[in-house]
């Protein structure tokens, strides 16, 4: 038994049994991997990380509703806060550290220039409701980005306010509902078609708006089954269809080569074509969705235009709209007005029938500035090169691994390479085990088990941001893992992975069965003097 000191409990105990004694340390730390308690276990009353002046004494105007009792927030000094969050940061993998092959999420380089310009005084510190005459530059930024987005997609209009991709889907599908309502067809067209390979947000959005989701199967080439689609749009039930929600390039990383025929069939049936633009990064500057017959498409600025993913947001999801849907864009609209810009709100200032308002204020401005800086840095030539490099890198990964892993489909892919788990058949190693073993090799795993149409899917998106040498090492590491898995006798080692991460595999079943979603004082043991205990 090796003695150890647990900072979160504030006491000395014995090293966890599962770790071999030779690897145990007194602190529980492993070199640079430092165990870190919660702020609630670190705080002491009497400590504070800010210095604020004594408030002047006033007769309060709180209507007798002053808070009584403690809130329960811990007190920490500034150095403690810096150390705490620095240590936590070191438990994360990030784009800045290497290949982050999480397919469909587009983990490309996040330039720091974008962070700098978003924080400039006069941009980052503007209030959304200060007089419009004092924010003309900000409105010009929004209008400039809108111009780029419309030109790159070949679409006549864009709604800038949606806060993320899923919010953009909501916006686009509300616009579809509004267009149907204007034609008196909303009651009749209640079906939304969505391929089985769709992101979960597509059916969730359609269902929230009262549509019935009808899945369209994929064909053996990973594309929409055109015959099944045409049947769904045929004379028998085409008049019930409101829209199709289709991701293109699709979630298998493939371009829907029948896309124009699909759009024509959708329009011929009187329905609309919602394109999920999550994968627009594969085709920027090389294909304009407007040329494919798209009616609306959201653009995830945090994917295609590299605004930081930030541990899960914030994002931004502007929606480009065809002429058929443009008049239904939600307010506010940024309108060029003579010499300047104004913010058009509500019906009376807008010539159209907007769906309404999707969020307070004018959209994710901080994301707009970053995306515009990214776009201006690349320019028309660089954006076209970036999508080419993304597609080239994915195909290079696919070609370099196809003999040891099992590509889900034949032929070139777009920006991501999809494998199924048939190469792991009879090895005792699952997609999950394979992904966890990548962690020990120093990589963030690919997307696992998505899309659902492929068994045990492994979806790799290298993006354009990796040097060839880094891709080569990544490929070599995956080849080595695949060969180890197929060699037999190593399933237990895969199941034990990751071994070198800040945590071993976590018990997700326990977390869901007995949800502990907040720290409570009762979690703290009664013992209160850690130093005294250490002395014992």
């Amino acid at each position: 038994m090796v003695q150890s000191f647990d900072r979160s409990q504030g006491r000395v105990g014995v090293a966890a049994a599962a770790a071999p004694a030779s690897e145990a340390t007194f602190t529980g730390n492993r070199g640079l991997q430092i165990e870190e308690p919660l702020i609630f276990e670190l705080g002491q009353s009497g400590r504070c990380g800010v210095d604020l002046p004594e408030p002047p004494k006033v007769k309060d105007r709180l209507n007798g509703l002053r808070r009584t009792g403690e809130i329960g927030l811990p007190g920490l000094s500034e150095p403690q806060v810096v150390q705490h969050y620095t240590r936590l940061s070191q438990k994360n993998y990030a784009i800045d550290m290497g290949v982050y092959s999480l397919g469909s999420c587009t983990m490309k380089h996040n330039p720091r220039l974008n962070e700098k310009v978003a924080r400039l005084p006069g941009i980052g510190d503007l209030h959304p409701l200060q007089p419009v005459s004092t924010v003309q530059g900000a409105l010009e930024v929004i209008d400039s980005l809108a111009h780029w987005l419309k030109t790159l997609t070949g679409m006549p209009a864009v709604a800038m306010s949606p806060a993320a991709g899923a919010h953009g889907e909501m916006c686009g599908m509300m616009a579809v509902a509004a267009a149907l309502e204007a034609k008196g067809e909303r009651g009749q067209r209640k079906v939304v078609l969505a391929p089985e390979s769709a992101h979960g947000t597509n059916p969730a959005t359609a269902a929230a708006l009262g549509f019935t989701v009808k899945p369209i199967p994929a064909n053996e080439r990973g594309r929409v089954d055109l015959l099944a689609l045409k049947a769904a749009l045929g004379p028998a039930n085409g008049s019930e269809v409101a829209a199709i929600m289709l991701t293109n390039p699709n979630t298998c990383g493939l371009f829907e080569n029948d896309i124009i025929e699909i759009a024509q069939a959708v329009h011929a049936a009187g329905a609309y074509f919602y394109c999920d633009g999550a994968n627009f990064n594969a085709i920027v500057g090389r294909v304009r969705p407007g040329d494919l017959g798209v009616d609306c498409m959201h653009i995830n600025l945090h994917k295609t235009f590299s605004t930081p993913h930030g541990g899960g947001g914030p994002g931004a999801g502007p929606v480009v709209l065809s002429a058929a849907l443009a008049s239904h864009a939600p307010y506010p609209w940024i309108v060029r007005d003579g010499e300047g810009w104004r913010i058009a709100e509500e019906g009376r200032e807008i010539a159209g029938t907007p769906i309404g308002r999707l969020k307070a204020f004018h959209g994710q401005m901080g994301m707009f500035t970053r995306a515009l800086a990214y776009i201006m840095s690349h320019g028309a030539d660089g954006l076209r090169q970036a999508s080419a490099d993304a597609v080239l890198s994915a195909n290079y990964v696919m070609a370099s691994l196809k003999d040891v892993m099992s590509p889900a489909f034949d032929g070139p892919c777009m920006h991501e390479a999809l494998f199924d788990d048939s190469f792991l058949k009879d090895t005792g190693v699952s997609t999950l085990d394979f992904a966890k073993a990548m962690i020990d090799e120093g990589y963030h795993p690919m997307t696992m088990y998505f899309p659902l149409v492929v068994h045990g899917a492994l979806l790799i998106e290298p993006t354009e941001s990796q040097a060839k040498e880094d891709l080569d090492l990544f490929i070599a590491a995956l080849r080595s893992l695949a060969e180890r898995a197929k060699g037999g006798q190593s399933a237990d080692a895969f199941k034990a992975a990751p071994r070198f991460a800040p945590r071993r595999r976590l018990d997700e079943t326990l977390a869901a069965r007995k949800p502990v979603l907040r720290w409570r004082p009762s979690n703290r043991p009664p013992e209160d003097d850690p130093l005294k205990q250490a002395a014992e």
């Binding site: 979160s8 966890a16 599962a18 990380g49 800010v50 604020l52 002047p56 105007r61 709180l62 809130i71 927030l73 969050y85 940061s89 438990k91 994360n92 784009i95 999420c105 220039l113 924080r119 006069g122 980052g124 510190d125 209030h127 930024v141 806060a163 993320a164 919010h167 509004a178 059916p203 969730a204 080569n257 500057g285 304009r288 930081p308 993913h309 541990g311 899960g312 914030p314 931004a316 709100e345 769906i355 309404g356 308002r357 969020k359 307070a360 204020f361 994710q364 401005m365 201006m376 840095s377 028309a380 076209r384 080239l392 997307t447 060839k468 976590l506 997700e508 977390a511 979603l517 907040r518």
Partner: protein
């Protein structure tokens, strides 16, 4: 192109390995008629860092920065001092450039701060559980109404006339397209409305704001009782989260769902976004909650760790049966919130709230003494409404031309109600100084 590592030689070698002659060949699945053979015309080419930075400095120069002038603008977004540590932490690449913690073994940093965030939110709101953030306060309010509809299986929300008008519009938009009713009360500048009389057996929820859009501070305990007696839920919206340092929390008033705009803590004004929505509720409603949740568990060695949990509510598992379509939330803004609130702690957060209130009391008194200005509020936290002798929009414009940003004319947010034309909202935070208040008072005297 500084962001693209592949050289021409790399590209040639990679094409060779793939067995393709050109990149264009990789795009052969794109119908030929839609393939662009060269870059899109009419757009500029790539630029260096210096050029791009200059362009943004030029944009910035066309705006009036709040930092350089007397500033009293609020109405749902507030200018507070954010400690330097906050920006340092959120710009660490390990936080900035990671994504949703799908692989918990290598995202414990994100998962632990979200667990801390959830705990902080429950403490402020006086509630039992909180999620890992929403887009912002307005969308969180809309999600709260949807959640109440699911829980009560009713379809009629009642919206207070003291609710932020843009929040009201967001809920009404959701109601219109998702098919439920959202009945709005008339704008309530005096804080006198009686919602209890309007709650009935079809009401799914009542949505109130505290302090209200007009600044009034109210106790909603009786309304909560009336809601519960009728089988409805009470949703309390807080757009100025700093107020919770001083005011009785909504949980103690009997709220069932509390949503806040968290921007004031850790997040700059940013011209309206991105911000961070806080969402808290009672434990019994946990499984009807939207958004991501982080839970505590143990790893294979028995060590404490954190994971995303209860994701069977979410779209990527439940698809059309999900509680919400939300995927991405506001992770980095939640981190900014958590770091700032950790720096403040119990003592700092309370003092910050006291300071805001004391300064607002001072300005309210001074402004109310100006001829042509009357204070509408008997109670407020750090924002209050005054009635001017002239239309407020024109007064604000006139003061802006004197480089004073003097608050929000209510008519900007409620454009169709002549009764509010002369009303002005004034917000005062710890950033206000004598050098700001004195010019405001003097300019109001001059203009009115």
């Amino acid at each position: 192109m500084r962001y693209l590592p592949l050289t021409e030689t790399d590209r040639r070698d990679m094409l060779h390995a793939i067995g393709a002659r050109s990149v264009d060949e990789l795009f052969k699945d794109v119908p030929a008629c839609a393939r662009l053979s060269s870059k899109i015309a009419g757009l500029p080419d790539h630029q260096g860092e210096l050029e791009v930075e200059r362009a943004f400095q030029a944009y910035a120069a066309k705006n009036l920065s709040p930092a350089s002038v007397p500033f009293f603008v609020g109405a749902g977004a507030y200018r507070h001092h954010v400690p330097s540590t906050v920006d340092y932490v959120i710009q660490r690449g390990e936080f900035l450039t990671s994504y949703t913690p799908y692989q918990p073994e290598i995202t414990q940093g994100t998962l632990q701060y979200l667990f801390e965030f959830q705990t902080q939110v429950t403490l402020l709101a006086g509630m039992e559980v909180a999620n890992a953030s929403m887009y912002d306060g307005s969308t969180a309010a809309s999600e709260a109404v949807l959640m109440a509809n699911r829980i009560t299986r009713r379809h009629k929300a009642l919206l207070s006339g003291g609710l932020h008008p843009q929040y009201r519009r967001v809920i009404e938009t959701t109601a219109r397209w998702e098919g439920f009713s959202a009945a709005s009360g008339k704008a309530d500048p005096l804080g006198l409305e009686d919602l209890i009389a309007r709650v009935d057996k079809d009401t799914s929820c009542v949505v109130v704001q505290n302090p209200s859009f007009f600044g009034h501070v109210r106790d909603f305990s009786r309304l909560a009782d009336a809601c519960h007696a009728a089988g409805a839920l009470l949703i309390v919206v807080v757009t100025e989260v700093v107020s919770l340092g001083l005011l009785k929390p909504p949980g103690e008033m009997g709220a069932d769902i509390v949503v806040c705009e968290g921007q004031s803590i850790g997040n700059g004004l940013g011209f309206g976004g991105p911000y961070v929505g806080l969402f808290a509720t009672r434990e019994k409603y946990l499984r009807q909650m939207p958004g991501r949740l982080v839970g505590e568990t143990v790893d294979a060695e028995g060590k404490r760790g954190f994971v995303l949990t209860l994701s069977t509510r979410e779209q990527h598992i439940r698809r059309e049966k999900a509680t919400s379509n939300i995927c991405t939330n506001a992770g980095l803004c939640a981190l900014a919130f958590t770091v700032h609130l950790t720096l403040l702690g119990e003592a700092g957060f309370r003092r910050l709230a006291e300071l805001n209130h004391a300064k607002a009391c001072e300005l309210a008194e001074r402004v109310a003494a100006v001829p042509g200005v009357s204070l509408l509020n008997d109670s407020f936290f750090n924002e209050f409404t005054v009635r001017l002798a002239k239309p407020a929009a024109a007064v604000v414009e006139a003061l802006a031309s004197k480089r004073i940003l003097a608050g929000v004319p209510v008519s900007r947010l409620i454009p169709d109600d002549p009764e509010v034309d002369n009303l002005l909202l004034l917000a005062v935070t710890e950033t206000a100084t004598e050098h700001g208040m004195a010019p405001l008072v003097a300019a109001l005297k001059e203009v009115l």
